[in-house]
């Protein structure tokens, strides 16, 4: 069964951003440019923190607006990203209601592919991989 990245308990997020760094690190980079997940405060840290990433829509708007087929629906939930097809139009960035697609500095995009690498570096049990129907 395919798996999808989910939040187990968002209230536990401390805003450390280790997930963000894990995501770029997976591809051999130190930083946030290749990360498909974002760690934010809730209008200031006095209200806590949260993470933003692809929630695996049933009918994903980002796929619908991608002119080249770089984004396709994955078996199960979420999308597949074929970087070599991406022309950097950012239609998907506009289309995602929750802002879970990010612009890279090279003009392409970063989006969560639900690999779960970040789960291993979430120290407070906010993130998990969940099995979903194919």
């Amino acid at each position: 069964m395919p798996k999808r990245l989910v939040t187990v308990d968002l209230e536990k997020c401390v805003g450390c951003g280790l997930c963000v760094l894990a995501c770029s690190r997976k591809f051999g980079y130190a930083g946030n440019d290749y990360s498909g997940i974002l760690s934010v405060s809730l209008s200031g840290f006095e209200r806590g923190a949260t993470v933003i990433f692809c929630r695996g829509c049933e009918d994903p708007p980002c796929v619908q607006v991608c002119p080249t087929g770089a984004l396709r629906k994955r078996k199960g939930e979420g999308v597949l990203y074929k970087e070599e097809l991406c022309i950097g139009c950012k239609n998907c960035v506009q289309a995602c209601t929750i802002g879970a697609i990010f612009e890279r500095r090279d003009g392409k995009i970063a989006v969560c592919i639900h690999c779960g690498y970040c789960v291993n570096f979430c120290p407070h049990g906010v993130l998990a991989l969940k099995e979903v129907k194919a």
């Binding site: 805003g15 450390c16 051999g28 930083g31 946030n32 840290f45 006095e46 933003i52």
Partner: protein, 572 residues
């Protein structure tokens, strides 16, 4: 490496590629180098000629806990080199924006805030927000107006910085501070309300496999070993009880080292009754930032409450709690919140008010000066006095806003004015190493060489010369940590061997010996800069010899011998 230089006088900026500086240099070492290049040592700290450097390190953002930013400037509090470190998201944003350091020069003609977004710099009009005293409100306005949510830092000053209080801080991400030595006043003098840095970026590491392995090792060490246990749980206020027990908790302007209400304001009590949330600096799994929930009823309307979130640590509990004789958690939290909104350094504010309270009690000053009656434990009046420190309605508060050293010069009470090298005292009175540490530490901070920790281990003191050498050795190693911008709380994780190992996948070979030499050199260079800025042998406050500490009463002769030895061996 890339350095961004922003000139406020001309509203211009340049990005320098510095091939002449080795890639592994950062933090304190880099800041000293850039200060040397950019500043004339004799400039007035509040003039256009002062320079501010923000530097991050070679491990940002590659490894966890390398999450500090080192700020260097000429301090308006001491008139000497100022250095202050803060966490939050600053280091991450600067590194991801592509810079190892940002240099701020000049002075804006009118109030501005500056936004750095990767390769672009924008100068924004800040006239409308210049008069807002509350640092939290200013931050919220800027946060809503600017983009970069999640990948930015908002470093801003409160009203104290605007009004040039010489121990005003720069606050970042609501709860972290470039606290000590008055960076906030330097911002204020430059008409700079805030510096926002938005950073999206990454660099490819040399050896991906080894990088991931070393990363995992550091991550596991931080979380699974005992190296950071103290910060995992109760946080820094875990110190209150033990320091009180060993007679090291400065109380009521250090007339005592035990506080009868220490249990009430202990880390354990805060955790049990007030702790509402914990948050982390970027790239830190520990989340040591303890935030209390404080419910304050409206004065005249029943069933209405303000609910505020107040970050607490050991140092503000000492300076605004025991040092002011405030023994209620609610009182301490309200004072911390006040200091937070105005953007004052908590330690300097507490020590200044503690001195003023004693001076008031002894009749050196009266209500003509203080306007409110200052007495230990009186929270309401201290809140009012803090407001006056900000507003400076008379000569007394104008002088007190320059620090306790200056205030005691004008009004007397030098012997109980607790400043070291012009910097107000941190929260430890544990023995010789504590105070010698403050005196010879290049920032006059307890964290320079951790003398307070040494005092808690020592049974019999060695000759003062030996103690000094030991403290300097520790301070030299801490230069390495602050050049890597590794949080000092993670010093148990980043031992020389791990540091050396962590460099390799990034493409640098540095042996443990080279690292130690790097620390020693940074120490020497920083001290040389201090001397060129007119560093004089610091005054030793009499009070430290009057009040019993862990090791009984301290002898002046030992401290003087230590200071003389340090001066002749290291300074000259």
């Amino acid at each position: 490496m890339r350095i961004l230089k922003v000139n406020l006088s001309e509203y211009s900026y340049e990005i320098e590629e510095r091939d002449d500086i080795e890639e592994w240099i950062g933090g304190a070492a880099l800041a000293v180098k850039l200060m040397r290049e950019e500043i004339k040592p004799n400039v007035d700290p509040l003039s256009e000629e002062n320079v501010v450097v923000f530097a991050v390190g070679p491990f940002t953002p590659a490894y966890p806990l390398a999450s500090k930013t080192v700020a260097m400037f000429k301090s308006p509090l001491t008139g000497n080199l100022g250095e202050s470190h803060a966490g939050g998201r600053t280091a991450m944003a600067i590194a991801n924006a592509g810079y190892r350091a940002i240099v701020i020069k000049g002075k804006s003609h009118k109030p501005v805030y500056v936004v750095v977004e990767n390769d672009r710099v924008y100068f924004r009009d800040a006239r409308v927000i210049w008069g807002i005293a509350d640092s939290l409100v200013v931050a919220r306005i800027i946060a809503e107006k600017e983009k970069g949510r999640g990948i930015r830092t908002i470093m801003r000053i409160g009203g104290a910085g605007v009004k040039l209080v010489r121990y005003a801080c720069v606050t970042t991400e609501t709860y972290r501070h470039f606290g000590r030595l008055g960076l906030g006043a330097v911002f204020g003098s430059k008409n700079l309300r805030a510096l926002v840095v938005i950073g999206r970026g990454a660099f490819k590491v040399k050896d991906v496999k080894a990088y991931k392995e070393v990363y995992r090792e550091i991550y596991d060490l931080a979380l699974k070993s005992d190296a950071m246990k103290k910060y995992h749980l109760i946080g820094t206020p875990v110190n209150v009880k033990p320091l009180n027990t060993i007679k090291a908790l400065p109380t009521r302007n250090l007339t005592s080292t035990t506080f009868e209400k220490a249990d009430e304001i202990s880390g354990e009590a805060f955790a049990e009754y007030n702790l509402g949330r914990r948050i982390a600096c970027a790239h830190c799994p520990i989340a040591c930032i303890h935030v209390a929930t404080l419910r304050i009823p409206y004065e005249n309307e029943p069933y209405f409450y303000r609910t505020i979130m107040v970050s607490y640590d050991y140092e503000p509990i000492y300076s605004l709690g025991s040092m002011l004789g405030v023994g209620s958690r609610e009182g301490v939290l309200r004072l911390i919140h006040k200091v937070e909104t105005l953007g004052l350094d908590a330690m300097s504010t507490g020590v200044c008010l503690a001195w003023a309270t004693e001076a008031f009690k002894r009749g050196l000053i009266g209500e003509n000066e203080t306007i409110v009656k200052l007495e230990f434990g009186n929270v309401e009046n201290y809140l009012q006095a803090m407001e006056y420190l900000y507003q400076q309605p008379n000569d007394f508060y104008r002088v007190l806003a320059q620090g306790v050293e200056r205030a005691s010069e004008v009004y007397g009470g030098r012997e109980f004015a607790l400043a070291f090298g012009g910097n107000e005292m941190p929260g430890y009175h544990a023995g010789y190493a504590t105070h010698i540490g403050y005196l010879i530490g290049l920032r006059h901070s307890h964290l320079d060489n951790a003398g307070y920790a040494l005092d808690q281990k020592i049974k019999d003191y060695p000759p003062p010369e030996e103690l000094v050498d030991q403290l300097v050795k520790e301070e030299c190693w801490r230069q390495v940590l602050s050049s890597l911008v590794v949080c000092f709380f993670a010093r148990g994780v980043y031992k020389p061997e791990i540091v050396s190992k962590a460099f390799k996948p990034l493409g640098y070979e540095l042996s443990e010996e080279e690292l130690i030499r790097y620390g020693e050199e940074t120490y020497r260079e920083k001290l040389r800069l201090k001397v060129d800025m007119g560093f004089k042998k610091p005054r030793i406050p009499d009070r430290i010899f009057e009040t019993e500490c862990t090791h009984g009463k301290l002898e002046r002769e030992y401290v003087e011998r230590a200071l003389d030895y340090w001066w002749s061996k290291y300074v000259r």
